[in-house]
Amino acid sequence: MDSSRFNVYILSLSDKLFRLAKSILQSDDAAQDAVQELNLKLWEKRDKLDVVDNVPAFAMRSMRNLCLDTLRQHRETGEIQNDVEFTELNPYQQTETNDMALRVRQMIDKLPELQRTIIRMRDVEGVEISEIAYITNLTANAVTVNLSRARQKIREQIMNENKRVEEKVWRQ
């Protein structure tokens, strides 16, 4: 694969790869570094990319693996905590963000890594279940189960938020 084809196939995925890395690493800077590192790694292996059937899915899978390795390394050195589990937004976060769409984003950020990766790949990027299965190294059925759980958790959170707002209104 020469530089022009590399630009078309890999570098055009830059935004998607960045969004995936940002979702996993929860940091813009770390995501930028990860995308750059992946680009260099893929450039070094560009001769082998010609035999890959689905280059975008391969790049997304490599991006996720690289991010998970980064998280593992940081955990070993104690730089970050283990994966953030699903929790309610604290009162500070609730008052800080009035924009409901932004609150939904925060809710997704609080999901376990696998669920937030799957919900974003499907609902933000519009990736087919079979491709998500390849990227996450799961079966299609496992992807569907995780997707359903993630969406239901977000729905539950939204409903709780709305209930709280209604109660607040009635109390006033």
């Binding site: 932004l102 997707l147 969406r151």
Partner: protein, 165 residues
């Protein structure tokens, strides 16, 4: 309305197709969202917003057109030759001093016996040397330019030599 409710049920079960999800996205993007569906509006709105996030530091590889390659041919040739010479020297340093019995290399304090790994690491280091050499040969270009610019002065001195004779 039943269709949207049915689609939403399917959606939360993770059973909707991309086309059906696009239908939901279009519905929530419109101004016809029913009151009972309003809570989900923010969810779909967020997906739309997130898809607009872009990588602030995009890298684009540029390749040199043929005429530039021709101009730089000599420089590239010198850099390659230097690279090869450096390869030979480093290879001699890495492998030349070892007897067949002690077939290993020490890299960053680690003893590595796998020949392929050593070769890979050596290649990576050598390409770095190659890049550095190519960069350091850049000033030679200026010398070449000075040489070209001195040509008219040399001609003048030849003429004055002839006149003096």
């Amino acid at each position: 309305m039943a269709t949207i409710n049915e689609l939403l049920d399917k959606y939360f079960q993770g059973q909707t197709s991309i086309a059906e999800e696009n239908e939901l996205k279009e519905y929530f993007d419109s101004d016809k969202v029913a009151e009972e569906h309003k809570p989900y509006e923010a969810m779909f709105s967020n997906f739309g917003q997130e898809s607009q996030i872009t990588n602030p530091s995009k890298l684009v590889l540029h390749y040199e057109p043929a005429h530039i390659i021709h101009k730089n041919k000599l420089r590239i040739w010198i850099a390659s030759a230097s690279g090869i010479a450096a390869t030979v020297l480093v290879a001699l340093w890495l492998f030349g001093t070892q007897t067949p019995k002690d077939d290993y290399a020490v890299i960053n304090g680690k003893v590595i016996e796998n020949e392929q790994v050593v070769q890979k690491l050596a290649q990576a280091r050598l390409s770095k040397v190659n890049r550095m050499l190519a960069r350091n040969l850049e000033p030679l270009k200026s010398i070449e330019r000075v040489h070209e610019n001195l040509e008219p002065i040399r001609k003048v001195s030849n003429i004055s030599d002839k006149i003096n004779k």
